[in-house]
Symmetry: C2
């Protein structure tokens, strides 16, 4: 009888490693958040360096008045990954997250999933890693001070990413809600970052080498006006990331050299939606691979128009997949039917019934 039960139990083939929110936090805690972001940045850079080997699809959106659900698939020909992500700005009113997500990494040769993971926390981490990686190439040499305008859920990760990859030590925080800035300062206490809470955006950008905008409103807003931005800064524009949602005045864009992930997507979703379709931009993968220059002068304003791209999620999924054997922070999910005889799916159901799983059919 015990042999029979063993045969009926799912085999190793049936299991997919699953990283819950709790396990993701354990993974981050085990590695350390800054090291985790650094690791993500390495994987993202590696995947951007083989940009041309990726199948790049636009996101597949489903819209509602309240927000959007998107599937973001990509593949390098051997591995397939996708992220499910929603964006619902009104969710916080009901105690829900504005952005949540999960993702899957699969073996394209068999179609079998290799990893299923939460991606709410992971997306915040990979967004920070993407921004910090871009700034490593674009920000003024020796940058130490970053203004952070918008002190919501993403901002902590941005600060820690810029500390880890760029060497930022001073954060000048501004939010329309002073409580948000206090929250950020509280969370970063002990991180090695000095946080100065500022009363106005103008105050925040005073002396900043880098300006990060990461506000959450789902509308066109002008967080930065042209006269606020002096020469030589790097702007990390994270919050303008869907049609109708921008943060910067158009005149800033016209004075800046604009760097993007995937132009086809950024022109629809990023700050770039404010400019004509043929406005010249530089793709980050070309900067990383030396095909295009990054920062070329001290007075140049560089702008990373971040919208988030599927290859970053793919890299993040690869990073987590490779990390799991070291940390063990995952469970195995019985996601795939694995009959003894692959042609006998119904036989598996039948035998499950005779095992006493329920009334016979």
């Amino acid at each position: 009888m015990s042999t029979k039960i063993t045969n009926l139990a799912p085999s190793e083939l049936a299991y997919v490693p699953f990283v819950s929110v709790d396990d993701m936090m354990k993974n981050v805690a085990t590695v350390g958040v800054e090291e985790f972001i650094k690791g993500l940045a390495e994987y993202i850079e590696a995947d951007f360096l083989r940009w041309e080997s990726f199948d790049k699809k636009p996101r597949i959106p489903a819209h509602a008045p309240e927000g959007v659900i998107e599937l973001m698939p990509t593949s390098d020909g051997k591995t397939f990954g996708f992220k499910y992500v929603n964006g619902h700005p009104g969710n916080t009113r009901d105690g829900l997250q504005t952005v949540t997500g999960f993702g899957v990494l699969s073996d394209l040769a068999t179609g079998y999933p290799l990893l299923f993971t939460e991606m709410t926390i992971l997306t915040a981490l990979r967004t920070a890693a993407t921004s910090a990686l871009a700034a490593k190439y674009l920000a003024p040499k020796g940058s130490t001070t970053m203004a952070v305008i918008g002190n919501g859920a993403q901002s902590d990760f941005q600060c820690l990413g810029f500390k880890a990859l760029v060497g930022i030590t001073e954060i000048r925080a501004y939010d329309i809600d002073p409580e948000a800035s206090l929250r950020l300062a509280r969370n970063l206490a002990g991180s090695g970052l000095n946080v100065t809470i500022c009363k106005t955006p103008e105050d925040a950008i005073e002396g900043a080498d880098i300006i990060t905008t990461v506000t959450a409103d789902k509308k066109n807003a002008t967080i930065l006006t042209d006269n606020m931005v002096g020469p030589g800064v790097h702007i990390n524009a994270v919050g303008g990331d869907c049609p109708g949602k921008t943060e910067l005045h158009k005149d800033i864009l016209l004075r800046s050299d604009i760097f993007v992930e995937f132009p086809e997507q950024t022109r629809i979703e990023g700050e770039l939606q404010q400019l004509p379709e043929d406005h010249q931009v530089t793709e980050l993968w070309q900067v990383y691979s030396g095909k295009a220059p990054g920062r070329t002068s001290e007075r140049q304003i560089t702008l990373f128009d971040s919208v988030g791209f599927a290859i970053e999620d793919f890299a993040a999924l690869r990073f987590v997949h490779d990390l799991l054997p070291k940390t063990g922070h995952f469970i195995k999910l019985d996601l795939l039917a694995d009959p003894d005889d692959p042609r006998d799916l119904y036989g598996m159901v039948l035998r499950s019934q005779s095992k006493g799983n329920g009334a016979a059919a």
Copy 2:
């Protein structure tokens, strides 16, 4: 201290009901496989009847030499669903399933998933339900005998579906591998179906009111030739379901009235890929809603060119979602980050660390 731990535990908002393979088998066993297929057919018919309210997208494929992974999303404006499905004909050589899948149903108003479920078994069930539903409208009145050519993993479910919805009592089974037919006969013993194992396809279709073709080869094949198909039968063509994979001789198609799920997709994936792009077909939702006739004469050959469509998966996800409170066969998965303060994602990570989940960052 215990209060603190309670606060750190995931809230109800963080959980998504998950139906594992084992739980899916328990759900099928509890309801009974025929009742389960009947229930699925009801949901599928209901969703086909509101066809125009759906956002119909083509599948999003990722191809490899060995097979394909597809995402199949759809939405009715209130609920969003998608299925992940692979098709890898060589997988059985390695003891893996040719087709596996899983799916997600979400609330479009919040973006939050409502259900995450295995769909390998569920897809076989919904495919059978879709075929049997079509046959209810298209097969000759009083059909009792069905030829089943191809006796692999899908065939059992097809037989049981046609018993439940159409009243089939006699199965004439043929497979190039006699072992497959024996397996089918063994599984259906005691189901109320009489199974006759046949030595040739010609033998199998003798006296059949309905011919189901459900072979698995990933190539153009001629399972049925024109002279084998007499007047008045209904053909349920299930196996020809991707580019380059067909089962019927073109001349059969030319003699048949062809019924399809979604023409744009069937012309690429179904038997229809053999015919010119403008060949007239009838959409099943129009038959179900009375906008188009189904079977109109006794001598007419009707043909359902099944390829599988996202709305069927959507209906299947809805059915399982509605079933779970009655059966209780699911677990809750900690998939969504749910911080006390939605803007404080990093605070949740921080507090998880101080709880002792790992080394401090």
